[in-house]
Each structure stands twice: as structure tokens, then as C-alpha cells.
């Protein structure tokens, strides 16, 4: 068998094993990664394939048309064998992916791993967060319930506020002036092809850059390394098993419902997006739309280019660290508070 395969794949196996060992098995992991709180970047990386797999299963049944979208979601949830479970997995997988990216970002921020020479990876990481939120938004829209339909309408409406190209983008995304069948097929294409592809490429790039630089090592830890296999590998397996069990539990205990079918003629009293947009949504309720969007745009720019802004704002190393701690803490507390207020007031 071995010979049979070797004949058909005539490569240098000794070299192949050597490279594999070097890249994976014996990858040097810094000692600080033994601490769980400092090793959270793998979580979204584990969740992504789960999303792909459950997404493919859902795509077997989902029909992206205004007449059938909600009905096919209902069919998946109520009639397909274990359909509710797969859908629950996809829903909770998406939710946990966003939470785990937040956690990873927070760790990177507090350990100041975004600093030179890793600025580009910070920007890439933030772009990945943006893409994951976009893929979640498009996925949520596909369910075509009354809440998701109007969230899509309002969400895409914000596009129009962008200067110069706003209206063009709006029509491009919706395939017309309103949320219609065209919007559904566009969102479907984005959700199942373009965004997963973009996310996959960026993850590869993100990890490639990480490997080229090596994992950043916070100061104050004992210098030293251990091999990826078996210790860190086992850690990943434990996390994977935990995530699978936890998501399965959530899918059974808290399966997502199907909601009322979308009715484009009846605007509901309350329109709201998914919870991860709550801080932005609440902020935009409090301030005029265009000013709000401008402030949010600036804040996003601030976060993206923070590795370059930080040295301008504080010269001394110690001051920079204190500034980071304060900015990080204030941002997280603000986001959590806004999220809770929006949840409570509903």
C-alpha cells in the first residue's frame, strides 16, 4: 500500500516528514502559552470549520427566495431530522466565534502584541472580525423572518450614508432600491462563497504572519519553549471537545426559533439587529445618523491604526502601557454596557 502510494506520489518522504515535524509537531510554543487566558486565538480557528461543515448541511435544504427562505428555515428546524440541531450549531457557532474573536483581540491588546513588527497582523485580525460580523449579518438576513428582514433593511440603509459611493453600494448590495429576491441571492452568494473564501484566505495570511514572527512573548515570563505536540496539541483537542459539547448543549437547550415570516408591507414597532451590533445600534439611536456613523467610522479607524497611534500619544513605554490598559478597559466596559442597555430596553 505504502509503495503503491509512493509510486503515485513520487516525493521525498523523508523531507516531507522533516518539514511537517518542523512546522507542526515540533513547533516551538513559548512557555506563557501554558496559561489558558493567554492562549485563546485558536478558538475562532476551531469554530470556523464547524461553521463551514454545518453551513454545507444547511445549504442542502435552504432556498434563497423570498417565498421559500423562511419556509425552508422552518422545514430545516421542524422537519429535517436533527435539522434544529445543525441549525443550532451554526447559530451558536457564529455567536461563539464573535465572542472568541473579542476575547482574542482583548488578549492581544492587553499584552500589547500588536506592536511593531506585528501591526499588520493586528489590522488583518480586525479585518477578520469585520468579515465575521458581515458574514453573521448576511446569514441572519437569510432566515427572512420579520425581525431579520427589517434588520437587513435598516442595516443596509446605513450604506447610503457613506459619502459619494453610498447609494451605489446600497443598490449593489440589495440588487435594487429595496430588500427583495435580488438581495437574498446576493446575500446568499456572499454568505456561502465570497465571505468564507475571504475569511479562509485572511486566516491563512494571519497565521502565516504569526508563524513568521513567532508568537509574541509578553515580558516578565520565563523564556523557554515546548513542542507543539503533544502538550499544546492536546490543549487544542480539549478546547475542541469542550466547544463541540458546549455548542451541542446550547443547540438543544436554546435552539434558535424561526420567528414570524417577513412581511415587507408591515414595519414592526421595534427593529433591531443581532446582539453583536447592539453597541453601534444604540449609539446611532442616541445621535444623529450621519454624525453617529462618522464617529463610529473614526473609532474603527482608531482601533485599526492603534499600533501607529499609540507611539504618537505616549512617548514613554510605561505611559503607553498604562494608556493601553485604560483605553482597553474603557472600551470593553462601554461595549458591554451598551449591549446590556439595548438588551434590557427591549
Amino acid at each position: 500500500m505504502k509503495i503503491w502510494i509512493k509510486e503515485r506520489f513520487p516525493i521525498d518522504y523523508a523531507k516531507f516528514i522533516e518539514i511537517t515535524e518542523k512546522i507542526f509537531i515540533k513547533e516551538p510554543i513559548p512557555l506563557h502559552m501554558k496559561k489558558w487566558v493567554l492562549a485563546m486565538g485558536t478558538t475562532p480557528f476551531i469554530l470556523f470549520p464547524i461553521q463551514i461543515l454545518t453551513g454545507i448541511l444547511l445549504a442542502f435544504y435552504f432556498i434563497p427566495s423570498p417565498e421559500m427562505a423562511h419556509e425552508s428555515v422552518r422545514y430545516i428546524t421542524e422537519e429535517v431530522r436533527l435539522g434544529f440541531w445543525v441549525r443550532g450549531f451554526h447559530h451558536w457557532g457564529a455567536n461563539l466565534m464573535i465572542i472568541s474573536i473579542f476575547l482574542h483581540m482583548m488578549r492581544v491588546f492587553f499584552t500589547q502584541s500588536f506592536r511593531k513588527p506585528r501591526e499588520l497582523n493586528w489590522i488583518l485580525g480586525f479585518t477578520l472580525l469585520g468579515l465575521v460580523m458581515t458574514i453573521s449579518f448576511t446569514g441572519y438576513s437569510l432566515t427572512y423572518s420579520q425581525v431579520s428582514y427589517w434588520a437587513t433593511t435598516v442595516g443596509t440603509n446605513m450604506m447610503a450614508e457613506m459619502p459619494l459611493i453610498g447609494n451605489f453600494l446600497l443598490e449593489l448590495l440589495r440588487g435594487g432600491p429595496d430588500v427583495t429576491a435580488n438581495t437574498l441571492t446576493r446575500f446568499y452568494t456572499l454568505h456561502v462563497w465570497l465571505l468564507p473564501l475571504a475569511i479562509t484566505l485572511l486566516i491563512v495570511l494571519h497565521i502565516l504572519i504569526l508563524r513568521l514572527h513567532g508568537v509574541s512573548e509578553p515580558e516578565g515570563f520565563k523564556k523557554g519553549y515546548y513542542a507543539f505536540y503533544p502538550s499544546h496539541f492536546h490543549k487544542i483537542i480539549i478546547v475542541t471537545l469542550f466547544l463541540l459539547s458546549f455548542i451541542s448543549l446550547l443547540s438543544v437547550a436554546l435552539p434558535p426559533g424561526i420567528g414570524e415570516p417577513a412581511d415587507p408591507l408591515t414595519t414592526p414597532l421595534h427593529i433591531k439587529p443581532e446582539w453583536y451590533f447592539f453597541p453601534i445600534f444604540l449609539f446611532l439611536k442616541w445621535v444623529p445618523l450621519n454624525i453617529g456613523l462618522l464617529i463610529i467610522g473614526l473609532a474603527i479607524m482608531g482601533i485599526v491604526f492603534w499600533p501607529f497611534l499609540e507611539p504618537l500619544l505616549a512617548k514613554k513605554e510605561k505611559h503607553r502601557t498604562i494608556l493601553n490598559f485604560i483605553i482597553g478597559a474603557v472600551t470593553i466596559i462601554t461595549l458591554i454596557t451598551f449591549t446590556l442597555i439595548q438588551t434590557y430596553t427591549h
Partner: protein, 536 residues
């Protein structure tokens, strides 16, 4: 503290904080998707009503019902319907709060938003005052207290309020949920349309429509919107589907008279003339009904079915004519008498004399059996057309004539002593070759009247007269003639000698002979040895 420690503490604390809060939020949000209930805003005045009602425990379930209503979702609170001016007929101050409210929101209040629906209703026969206008005061039998929660409970749907508006919307749209599902439920119509005089819910339950609804309706969303000129979304109709709902061709209407072509609840059946200026002729109304029927049925079936039902109505008139003949004859002969009060006749024996057998037979043959005969034929209630209908009508007729014979009427006496089967057909006949269901080869070989050679010519002349008098439409006449011209085909007798038909027929004949033999042996010829106890 060392920087590394601070970092770890910050990450640890915020990790827990993020995970806990965001998971709670995500859980909270997913739970909301598990229930359909829309969120509602309770305005200040509504909140005041709710608080007080909850504290005083007054009609609290109505608060929950309102919360589920579309009204609540749309922000329609208590005072939108219950607001009042001090001099309104139903103005009332709430005892605890002193808030001025309207005790009885009337259709005028509903019309603030639902003007079309209220107008449609007011122009329908649902709102007509016939039970008061044509009142022969049946309460001489029932007494007013019996009518309060009797007649009036249903007929209050026609009530004229002090503000001039007519009707009670919540008769069907039960307050305070005003749920479409409740309004559409056949039992809602069946609250009134039931019982011996108009067993509509019973007829519906007997029909294929009702059967399918019973079997599958539990899975149907009965809250569907029917105003969008879209196909009817349910597999079989409920009452409202045919009489009110819209489809691709027909708009939804609250005017239940818009689709009814025959007055088959009246003493005589006649084509509807109700609000012809706005609703059009009976033929227009029939077209409306047919276009609803055709959501599920083929045109030929619909037209044949309804023509047959129309002929049942016409047949009823001929039977009634016989009842009227006997009642008038017996009244003129002084065998039966009208009720009198203060020197004036109080009753009319052909309508509402209740104290002598022919009068009672007369009344039941219209008000109970006569309606069942006709309404069963219109709504697929076979048993109501047959055993609760024409069988009872014939029974009443026999009873009436037998009573007349016993009370000295010579013609009646002659009828009783007549032994020819035709004595049960003292009236002209309507008929249609075959039926809507298909071709039946043997069924039309048995009726006694079919043995008359000129039977179909007599029937044809009757149907033609009905057509010439505008009681049947041209299309109906053509449909009837199409069947008449292919009589043997539609009657199926053309096929009765087919070998396949004969083979099947003979098999059942043989089995029947075995059955007959069995019951003769097991029952008829069985003799028991024990003496009867009545005999000494």
C-alpha cells in the same frame, strides 16, 4: 504589581465579564426568537387601566388577550376604543380611577380604523332586522326571559345602537384578542349557525370540507391575510373561506350576502335581491361564489353542484305549495283556527300558527326541515338534505294530511285510502340528469318516478319555466340541456348492460341473495321454545 500580573488580571477579569455578559445577551436574544409574540408598547393611559384592573382583579384575562392582539402590536391601547364623551349613551366613570370610558365600543368605534369592513357588514344580511320586522312574536311560546339568552344572543348581531351603528363586531372577532384564528374557526360561525333550524356547523362537519379541516386543519395557519388577492392558503375551506375570504379573483368582504344567490332560509326560496344596486344581480353574486369554489374545483363540477342545489330549492317551493294548499283549505273549512287577540288575528297558519298539528307541520316544514333540506344541498350535508330534510318534509306532509282525514276532510280521507305510490308526489318535480360526482350506471334504474315515460319531458318543462322566469340563468339552462340531450349518458343507463357493469352488478346481487338467506334463517324464521311472558 508587576505588569505581567496586571495584564493577566485584566485579561482574566474581562474574559469572564465578556463571556458571561455576551452569553447572557445571546441567550436572551435566542429565547426571543423561540416565541412569536411581538413586542408591544404600553402607553400611559393603557398602563393605568391595566394596573387598576390587575389590582381590582377585574377582567384580567382580557389584558392578556389584548397583549396577544394585533391591536397591541400596532399600539392601539384601551382608550382608542373605550374613550367617551360625558353625554355618550354608554359613558361610565371607572369606580376606582374616575376615568371616563365607553362601556360598549360599537361598530362606529371600530369604523374609526376599519371603515370598509364595518360598512360591508352593515350592508350585509347579517345586519338585517328581519327577525324583528317579520316578527310573529314567538315569545308567546318562549316568554321574554327565555329569549334574552336565547334568540337575542345570536340575533343581537343586528342590533341598532343608540349611536345609529349596526352590529356587534366582537360576535366573531372575540374581544380582546380580536384574533383572526378565532374569527375563522368554523365553531365561531357555529355559535349561531347550528341546531334544528339551520344546522350549518353540523352540515359543515358532515361535508368533505369539514372532514379535511378536522383532520389537517390543526397544522394550518388560520391567521392568514386574505386581502392581497393571493391564492387561498388552506387545503379545504372553512365557512369564512367561501363566504368572506378573498382569492386571486375575489376581494375579501365582510358582506356575507355578496356571494349568496338564493334566499334559502325564507319561507319560500327565491333569488336574492338584497342590495342589488351595489352587489349586482343574483347571477353576479353566484359568479363571486363560483370563483371562490374554483380555487379548488373544476368549473363543470361547481356549476353542476350549484345547479342541483338550486333545483333542490325550487323543489322545496313546490312542496311548500302543497303544505300551503292544505293549511289554507283546512283554515277555510274551519278545521284549524288562527289565534286571535282583541278581535284581531294574531297568527297566520301558513307561517306561525303553533297550536294545531297542520300548523306545526307547516312551521317545521319551513323553519326546520325545509331549511335543512335546502342548506344541506348547498353545503354538502347529504344527511341533512336526505334524512333530516326531505324525509322529514314528506313525513310532515303525511302527518298533516292524515290529521286532516281524521278531522273530516274528504279529500284527505281519499288520499289516505289511495294505495298508489304516486300519492307521495302531489307536486311538480325538478331534477337533473345524473349528478356532479360522475357517472353512476345503476342508481338511476330504480326511482319510481323514472318509470313515467314523459318524466323527463315534464321535468324539462318545469326547468324551462324556471329559466324563463329568471330563476335559473342561461348558463344553467344550457348546462341542464346538455345533460338532457345526453340523458342516457348522464343517467348512466347507457352503460348498465356493459359486461363489466353486469359482472360487478351480478356479484353484488349474488352476495345480497346470500345475505337475505342468512337473515331469513337467523332471524325471521327463528322460533324460540320459551313462552312469551305476556301470554298466560
Amino acid at each position: 504589581m508587576e505588569q505581567i500580573k496586571i495584564q493577566q488580571w485584566l485579561i482574566g477579569i474581562f474574559s469572564v465579564l465578556l463571556i458571561v455578559t455576551l452569553m447572557i445577551v445571546a441567550t436572551f436574544e435566542v429565547k426571543k426568537t423561540m416565541k412569536y409574540a411581538a413586542e408591544i408598547d404600553v402607553d400611559k393611559s393603557t398602563a393605568q387601566c391595566i394596573n387598576c384592573h390587575e389590582i381590582e382583579h377585574i377582567a384580567v384575562t382580557q389584558i392578556a388577550a389584548w397583549e396577544k392582539s394585533e391591536h397591541a402590536v400596532m399600539g392601539i391601547g384601551c382608550l382608542e376604543c373605550h374613550s367617551a364623551e360625558a353625554d355618550d349613551f354608554d359613558a361610565q366613570r371607572c369606580p376606582e380611577s374616575d376615568v371616563l370610558i365607553a362601556r360598549h365600543p360599537t361598530p362606529k368605534d371600530c369604523a374609526e380604523c376599519h371603515e370598509d369592513q364595518v360598512n360591508e357588514f352593515a350592508n350585509s344580511k347579517h345586519a338585517h332586522q328581519f327577525w324583528l320586522l317579520k316578527n310573529a312574536d314567538r315569545s308567546i311560546l318562549e316568554m321574554p326571559i327565555g329569549t334574552k339568552h336565547g334568540c337575542e344572543q345570536c340575533h343581537n348581531i343586528t342590533t341598532i345602537w343608540p349611536d345609529g351603528s349596526v352590529g356587534e363586531c366582537d360576535v366573531c372577532h372575540a374581544k380582546h384578542s380580536f384574533s383572526m384564528e378565532v374569527a375563522r374557526q368554523p365553531e365561531t360561525c357555529g355559535e349561531c349557525h347550528m341546531g334544528p333550524d339551520h344546522p350549518h356547523i353540523e352540515i359543515y362537519n358532515e361535508s368533505k370540507h369539514g372532514n379535511i379541516f378536522k383532520a389537517l386543519g390543526g397544522d394550518w395557519d388560520m391567521g392568514y391575510n386574505t386581502t392581497k388577492n393571493e391564492p387561498i392558503p388552506i387545503e379545504a375551506p372553512v365557512c369564512v373561506t367561501c363566504h368572506m375570504d378573498g382569492n386571486e379573483k375575489q376581494p375579501m368582504t365582510h358582506n356575507v350576502s355578496a356571494r349568496l344567490a338564493t334566499e334559502s332560509q325564507a319561507t319560500w326560496s327565491y333569488r336574492t335581491v338584497w342590495d342589488e344596486e351595489n352587489l349586482g344581480s343574483w347571477e353576479v353574486k353566484r359568479d363571486r361564489m363560483e370563483s371562490i369554489c374554483m380555487s379548488c374545483h373544476a368549473p363543470d363540477f361547481v356549476e353542476t353542484y350549484l345547479l342541483t342545489a338550486d333545483l333542490v330549492n325550487l323543489q322545496y317551493n313546490e312542496m311548500r305549495r302543497t303544505f300551503v294548499y292544505w293549511t289554507k283549505k283546512l283554515t277555510a273549512a274551519g278545521i284549524i283556527d288562527r289565534l286571535e287577540a282583541d278581535g284581531k288575528f294574531f297568527s297566520n297558519p301558513v307561517l306561525n300558527g303553533w297550536d294545531e298539528v297542520p300548523e306545526k307541520m307547516m312551521y317545521y316544514s319551513w323553519h326546520h326541515e325545509g331549511r335543512r333540506f335546502r342548506h344541506g344541498a348547498e353545503m354538502m350535508g347529504a344527511d341533512f338534505t336526505q334524512w333530516h330534510g326531505i324525509w322529514e318534509l314528506q313525513h310532515n306532509l303525511v302527518e298533516m294530511i292524515t290529521w286532516a282525514a281524521e278531522h273530516g276532510d274528504k279529500e284527505a280521507h281519499k288520499w289516505v285510502n289511495n294505495n298508489h305510490p304516486s300519492k307521495f308526489v302531489p307536486f311538480a318535480l325538478y331534477d337533473i340528469p345524473g349528478n356532479a360526482w360522475g357517472i353512476s350506471t345503476m342508481v338511476n334504474t330504480t326511482p319510481f318516478v323514472y318509470s313515467y315515460e314523459d318524466y323527463w319531458d315534464r321535468v324539462k318543462s318545469n326547468v324551462e319555466t324556471a329559466y324563463n322566469n329568471g330563476v335559473l340563468s342561461e348558463d344553467q339552462w344550457e348546462l341542464w340541456m346538455k345533460r338532457y340531450e345526453n340523458l342516457d349518458h348522464y343517467l348512466g343507463v347507457k352503460y348498465k348492460d356493459n359486461p363489466e357493469v353486469k359482472e360487478a352488478w351480478n356479484m353484488y346481487k349474488e352476495r345480497d341473495a346470500i345475505d337475505t338467506k342468512a337473515f331469513i334463517k337467523e332471524a325471521v324464521n327463528l322460533k324460540l321454545p320459551g313462552k312469551p311472558f305476556g301470554a298466560k
